[in-house]
């Protein structure tokens, strides 16, 4: 069967692809890992990240509560958003607890762990109040979240 025969060539392109694939795989693995804290500075960074993430979630919940009180948000959207914030706070705590705090970091650890706990329970209460359309509870919760946000802001300042 006559065909155009092409002289064999070193598959450089193939090797390049392999390298690229390897790099991509490595990048995925690296970016997915939670690096264990090694020293005090790393731990502070990690704690700061957790505090900022918690601020974002509590802020979201507070915003949603405000919208519910002014009847500016759909029940379903409020419910889902509060649920998502509650879940996110859960995983923020989990990933902070997974890290061994270095010596001397206990005050930071205790302070942040307590704040995360309070944040999670406030958001959980907000979800419950939202489902019940419990206006009084929502008003209370907005106040509670304001305090938590102020405390988190203080922690962030301490860590920055």
């Amino acid at each position: 069967m006559p065909t155009v025969a092409v002289p064999p060539q070193v598959p450089r392109v193939l090797r390049l692809t392999r390298t690229i694939l390897l790099v991509v795989a490595l990048a995925l693995v690296l970016s997915a890992c939670v690096t264990p804290a090694l020293n005090a500075a790393d731990y502070r960074d990690k704690a700061l990240g957790s505090a900022e993430a918690a601020t974002s979630e509590v802020g979201t919940a507070k915003l949603v509560c405000g919208l519910l009180l002014r009847e500016r948000v759909l029940q379903s959207t409020a419910d889902e958003t509060l649920g998502a914030s509650e879940d996110a706070l859960g995983s923020i705590s989990d990933s902070l607890l997974a890290v061994q705090p270095p010596r001397g970091a206990d005050p930071i650890y205790l302070r942040l762990a307590t704040q995360l706990d309070r944040a999670e329970s406030a958001v959980r209460d907000a979800r419950i109040a939202a489902r019940r359309s419990d206006t009084d509870a929502l008003v209370d919760l907005v106040g509670r979240m304001d305090t938590i946000l102020a405390d988190l802001a203080a922690t962030e300042e301490l860590l920055a």
């Binding site: 006559p2 065909t3 155009v4 025969a5």
Partner: protein, 136 residues
Amino acid sequence: MVRRQDLSGRQLDAALQLLDRQIVDSDGRMVAKVDDIELSERDGELEVTALLIGPGALGSRLRGELGRLVTSVWRRLRTDARPMPGRIEMSEVVRIDSAIHVAPSISELESVPGVNGYEQWVRQHIIERLPGASDE
């Protein structure tokens, strides 16, 4: 086997121009890509006598490990003892522009063994069994 050095540069150029172009039937239906070409010697001149299509032809052009894999899988899937890639005679080509236009219709082309066998299998065994496969 025709080696590259047997061809004059211009001839090779013309032949290579055909490679990887879309083959289109008389109605403008897409048939296949030119996966390879068949060259024959006539009166001391080399000419393209057929367009070769399907994995059997593509495998040899992919080269290397991958090419061998494609070719051997294609061979396994064929029932004939000495499988040949699908071919469309060069005499059936009517016009070449951004595509290669051939005179027969796609159903005439597909009646030749080796041409779009997988397409026909998928059509018969999967797509036509779904409701509405023949609706406009």
